[in-house]
Amino acid sequence: MHTITAPRFLLSIVLVSTLLVGFGCRSRQPILDGEQGNGTDMVDSISLDGTYALAPRGEFGQPVTEVSFENVQFSYDSFQIPPIERAKIEAVAEFMLDNPETTVLVDGHCDERGSREYNLSLGEHRALSIRAVLISLGVAGDRIQTRSFGSEQPLDPGTGEAAWRRNRRGEFSLFRP
């Protein structure tokens, strides 16, 4: 029914180890079917409760390389933008208002502590907080996408407050068509 298109999607049975008595650890790569369930649902566009609904994910285009922006840092278990961090978002907004063809992807990250699943939500909430500030500064919401990595991609692999502080962050990636 579905055509296998690439060798890496082949069903492969690989003996990874036979540490387990009598039984190996088999391994196989599932075939990825065509997309389903995407793009058929209407995205809410009205923000009755003060949130800004996300626009559908589009193509991101080419990365903007002539300028880079500092990461926004967060307090532990918080999605609030510390006042001292706001200027970093204002710099992004200024650039985007000067360069109306650009779009931004805001990545939210957490430190390693706590539930990975809650951190995925918290990281998204951090990215959305940054997005809300960008919108309040005049950047159209459909130019801003968010992505949370939770605690999966620490900048600093160390443990301890110094590492954790660096890892609680929002990152900006800018694109133009």
Binding site: H2, R8, L11, V14, V16, S17, L19, L20, V21, G22, F23, C25, R26, S27, R28, Q29, P30, I31, L32, D33, E35, Q36, G37, N38, T40, D41, V43, D44, S47, D49, G50, T51, Y52, A53, L54, A55, P56, R57, D77, F79, G114, S115, R116, E117, Y118, L120, S121, L122, E124, H125, L128, R131, Q145, T146, R147, S148, G150, E152, Q153, T159
Partner: protein, 401 residues
């Protein structure tokens, strides 16, 4: 797993063979029933002795029985197994020593390659016959693992055998959730660069996209009837709990917490309520809400953070509660409001998942950066290490079938 066996099962339900002192189901203490296997003829072949070995190990492993000598046994396994080429033939008969009556008898034939599953299914059938609880010996545990840094989905038998790698993406993935009756997992993966929800059909080796809305698509939990998914979406501009009808995809929003984040929904056994994590009252804590919506009710009181709830088959909720700086396992009883802390060791106990017997839980024990999976008997507090391979193993999800 499809079992390619031709199975002839003869069940002799025993009406009067139960010992009077056995208490049934999850919460109380269950006496391990002594059972002897000395009268079972396994012969000298490797497959035959492996069968008996697996039966004995799993009788001892799950707390419902203990293998004893014939003199002190309440039950005796009789019959035997014969091997002929790649074929086996088993006659397994368990007799109540006092009454002489058979409580269960299975006559099975098939390929020797299926003997492990035959042995595990027999132990579960015996557990059901004597304790009226579905055993977990034949069930499986899906989890996330990092073998060489990249993360993928894995699966292992509850007996610790037959570990299998299910994906080869080496990208962050989250929270596998079993379909209640099918060999299907729902989980969140970054395989296409964003946290999207996928459905993985283990038997057919096929994966399809379930939800890839803007923002996060995470926290999937399949309803007990298999027809609905609870999940977390941030499409509204904030992470919220939603219910998605399967397979049509109709979405209902359950929570409305514009300025707070939700995570990790899980269904009550009757499919009417959801427990989930929210920071709407400061820090992540547990709330229960009707699947039809309405006002969420906070259920976790102690602990600075309460995360990763799993609503068990007997109605009790297990979760990780941060106490004195470490995540400990806590069981909450919605009817009485009582909570009981199960662990105290100074390490993190995360992502607990109930077995279908309502007695055992599997969880990730993290010491420093590395997690291993353990199974705990919540009646005795006994822990068994499930993952013995080196690696980082977490997000265990115990199958109900």
């Amino acid at each position: 797993m499809i079992r390619f066996l031709i199975i002839i099962i003869c069940l002799f339900a025993c009406s009067s063979g139960f010992s009077a002192d056995i208490k049934i189901v999850g919460e109380g203490k269950t006496q391990a029933v002594p059972i002897s296997t000395q009268a079972f003829h396994a012969g000298a072949s490797e497959s035959a002795s492996l069968f008996l070995h697996i039966v004995r190990v799993n009788l001892d492993r799950w707390g419902w029985f203990r293998v004893s000598d014939a003199a002190s046994a309440s039950y005796a396994l009789q019959g035997g197994i014969t091997i002929s080429g790649s074929q086996f033939s088993v006659d397994a008969n368990v007799v109540n020593v006092r009454t002489g009556r058979s409580v269960i008898r299975q006559r099975l034939r098939g390929e020797t390659s299926e003997l492990r599953m035959v042995a595990l299914n027999f132990v579960d059938a015996l557990t059901e016959a004597i304790h009226e609880v579905p055993g977990v010996a034949s069930t499986r545990i899906a989890f996330v693992g990092a073998l060489h840094g990249g993360k993928d989905l894995f699966m292992v038998g509850a007996d610790g055998e037959a570990m299998m790698q299910l994906t080869q993406d080496a990208v962050p993935c989250f929270g596998p959730s079993w379909h209640p009756r099918q060999d299907v997992l729902y989980y969140t993966s970054f395989v296409r660069g964003f946290p999207d929800i996928y459905r993985l059909d283990i038997e057919r080796g096929r994966r399809s996209v379930v939800s890839r809305e803007s923002g996060i698509n995470a926290g999937t939990s399949v309803s007990p009837d298999g027809n609905r998914l609870a999940l977390i979406l941030s499409r509204s501009g904030n992470p919220e709990v939603y219910i998605r009808q399967q397979p049509k995809g109709e979405l209902t929003r359950v929570t409305h917490t514009a300025h707070f984040a939700e995570a990790s929904p899980d269904w009550s056994p009757d499919g009417r309520n959801l427990v989930f994590v929210s920071d709407m009252q400061g820090g992540p804590h547990l709330f229960v809400v009707s699947a039809d919506g309405g006002k969420p009710r906070r259920i976790s009181r102690s602990g600075s953070q309460n995360v990763s709830p799993d609503w068990g088959p007997d109605g009790r909720i297990i979760y990780s509660s941060r106490r004195y700086g470490r995540f400990q396992l806590v069981v909450y009883h919605p009817q009485t409001g009582e909570e009981k802390q199960l662990t105290t060791a100074p390490v993190d106990h995360e992502n607990p998942s109930w077995g279908r017997d309502g007695r055992h839980v599997v969880y990730a024990k993290r010491d420093g950066r590395i997690s291993s999976l353990y199974i705990m008997d919540t009646q005795t507090g006994t822990e068994i290490r499930l993952t013995t391979r080196a690696g980082d193993w977490y997000f265990p999800a115990w199958s109900l079938h």
